[in-house]
């Protein structure tokens, strides 16, 4: 091996490492700061001295959001929507992706076009809203689950994965008398755990982080998911703060009484922790999933 000692390489190495360290800091600092602030006292938060370590350690903010208010209920709602939603997503996506993956299936090109057209044209927000109302889904949890039951990108990822399963396996099972349904559930699905994990995570992240559909399709606050509640807390905090700046004494008192910043940060942290806890374990499959998702044929 020839050792590359040129000046340009040294400069490149310097730039690369500086960039990487910059990315690490910029990505991690805000998240760690949110965590530390959620564990800090009101005084430390108001003076703005918290960095990545809690100052005046206290669990009060967490006690507060988990004993009173909308957060515990919203957390539970989000868990329910995510679990049921992802389950339905996976059933519908895999059961449609499997026929699409089979060569020589009659009507296959009809099915494919049915899907492809929707990637380039849609009715838009208002017709979907009218449909959801007419179906009687408005203000039910199904309004958050059914309209997005299949994401076309995930359907394509699943289909491509199924295409790569050796067809001989299916054929020998067929000769042994198994029908297509049995082959799908007993042979194909158990072989697809990696794809199911990836696509399942994509769906779960989508459900856990979604708030827009909840905002337009739900009116009953008791059904709100965590992200929508988080948005309301942040907006309310904004309004309180603006009022306090404008000299509203009661708003100023209200801000002083509670550890407003701590509570906001605690809610924020609770809203992101489930997904952050899961993704490092599934990440080895991402690259494949993203790559397949970007190819279409």
């Amino acid at each position: 091996m020839v050792k590359d000692n040129s000046l340009s390489t040294k400069i490149l190495t310097l730039i690369v490492h500086t960039t990487m360290i910059f990315v690490l800091i910029v990505t991690l600092y805000p998240v760690l700061n949110v965590f530390a602030s959620s564990l800090s006292s009101a005084d430390a938060n108001n003076r703005g001295i918290v960095t990545i370590f809690p100052i005046g350690f206290t669990l009060d903010s967490y006690k507060m959001i988990f004993t009173a208010g909308a957060v515990p209920r919203a957390f539970k709602n989000s868990v329910v929507y995510t679990v049921i939603g992802t389950f339905i997503n996976l059933i519908l996506t895999t059961s449609f992706a499997y026929p699409l993956s089979r060569k020589n299936l009659p009507l296959k090109s009809f099915y494919t076009w049915l899907v492809i057209i929707t990637m380039y044209f849609s009715g838009g927000l208002i017709p979907l809203f009218i449909l959801v109302k007419n179906l009687g889904l408005y203000d039910t949890m199904w309004a958050l689950i059914l309209p997005g039951a299949i994401h076309t990108t995930n359907l394509i990822i699943m289909r491509t994965f199924f295409q790569n399963i050796p067809h001989e396996l299916e054929e020998s099972a067929y000769l042994d008398g198994a029908n297509e349904f049995v082959i799908f559930t007993r042979i194909v699905l158990p072989l697809s755990k990696a794809a199911l994990a990836t696509v399942g995570l994509y769906y779960a992240v989508g459900h856990w982080n979604s708030w827009f559909n909840a905002m337009i399709f739900l009116s009953d606050q008791r059904k709100f998911p965590l992200q929508l509640v988080l948005r309301d807390i942040i907006m309310l905090a904004q309004i309180l703060q603006q009022a306090a700046e404008a000299g509203d004494l009661s708003a100023r008192q209200e801000l002083g009484l509670i550890n407003a910043k701590g509570v906001k940060y605690a809610t924020l942290f609770v809203s992101m922790v489930p997904m952050l806890a899961v993704y490092p374990f599934v990440q080895k499959y991402f690259v494949k999933g993203v790559m397949i998702g970007s190819l279409k044929d």
Partner: protein
């Protein structure tokens, strides 16, 4: 040899064969049925629903029963004093995304490729995906708090430096930079995945050969890495350009307030506000339809170019 061609007969055998193979694969079609129903109900029925753009939709009369009004709603939109503002804001954010957000994941992937495989590389990569898993309300929430004029860390630093406090979230001047910077923060690592994958497919012999020829790392990046991911870059770029007229309402709505409408109001937020908040269903459906038709046109043109350039079109 005499060939008799009976049209009726071939038609019949065609259908016979078709029916036979349908029967043979009945379980597969049964499996596909829920998916087909999903697409018809939640994608095609709303497409049919866009006809209310040409009607005065009335909830009691329904889509079919409402009266036709022709292009009234489209004309109203074109004559709207905010028409150009909405178009400009929508396109400008997209253009800034293409200029500033698009190239960074490519550079990040190239830089990551320069690191030796090992813990450090894996750690940076894992951390870089992290923002992708944080919700938009949480991201905008953090932004609001860090940028707060009273106790946000950025303004505290500005004050210490003797600079005036900036009301970031309320200032129309700051809307676009904040939108773009937070986009970069959220998508840098995730957006790089596709280029990382493309780089990992480069034949290692190319690099080995280059090393023997005495190439420097910069030369290898310039003459091997970048050219080998060029097709991916071109496809991603054209795909991105195809969406230049679309911008989802979700993020803008979280950052928007009447104070910054001047730069923040885009077609999708206008449709949301006038449609769902004020109930102008037909008018906003017309706006949405106008928007998707332009999108579709741009996409088809972009696809034509992609096919010419890379011989692998999007569709």
């Amino acid at each position: 040899m005499e060939v008799t061609f009976n049209k009726k007969e071939t038609f019949r055998t065609y259908f016979k064969n078709f029916w036979k193979s349908m029967k043979k694969t009945k379980y597969l079609h049964l499996l596909a049925l829920p998916g087909v129903l999903y697409y018809i109900i939640f994608h095609y029925i709303p497409m049919y629903g866009v006809i209310i753009a040409f009607k005065d939709y009335n909830f009691r009369k329904g889509i079919l029963g409402s009266e036709w009004v022709g292009f009234k709603h489209f004309i109203r939109f074109f004559e709207n004093p905010f028409f150009w503002r909405l178009i400009r804001n929508t396109i400008l954010i997209n253009v800034y995304q293409i200029i500033f957000v698009f190239p960074l994941p490519i550079i990040f992937a190239l830089f990551l490729n320069e690191l030796r495989d090992g813990f450090y590389k894996r750690f940076v990569q894992t951390v870089s995906y992290l923002p992708h898993f944080i919700s938009l309300p949480a991201i905008i929430g953090m932004m609001v708090m860090f940028l707060s004029p009273t106790d946000g860390v950025i303004n505290m630093i500005l004050q210490k430096m003797g600079l005036p406090t900036i009301y970031f979230m309320a200032d129309p001047k700051w809307f676009r930079p904040l939108y773009i910077i937070s986009d970069i923060w959220q998508h840098l690592g995730w957006g790089a995945i596709i280029y990382i994958a493309a780089l990992s497919n480069v034949n290692p012999e190319l690099y080995e050969g280059a090393v023997i020829d005495g190439a420097t790392r910069v030369q290898m990046m310039r003459y091997i890495s970048i050219p080998s991911i060029m097709p991916t870059i071109v496809i991603m770029l054209l795909l991105r350009i195809g969406h230049i007229m679309s911008l989802g309402a979700e993020k803008v709505l979280l950052m928007q307030s009447p104070l910054n409408y001047e730069t923040s109001d885009v077609i999708s937020t206008y449709v949301y506000r006038r449609g769902l908040v004020y109930g102008e269903y037909s008018y906003t459906t017309a706006i949405g339809l106008f928007n998707s038709l332009i999108n579709l046109t741009i996409l088809i043109i972009a696809n034509k170019i992609t096919k010419k350039v890379t011989e692998t079109g999007l569709f």
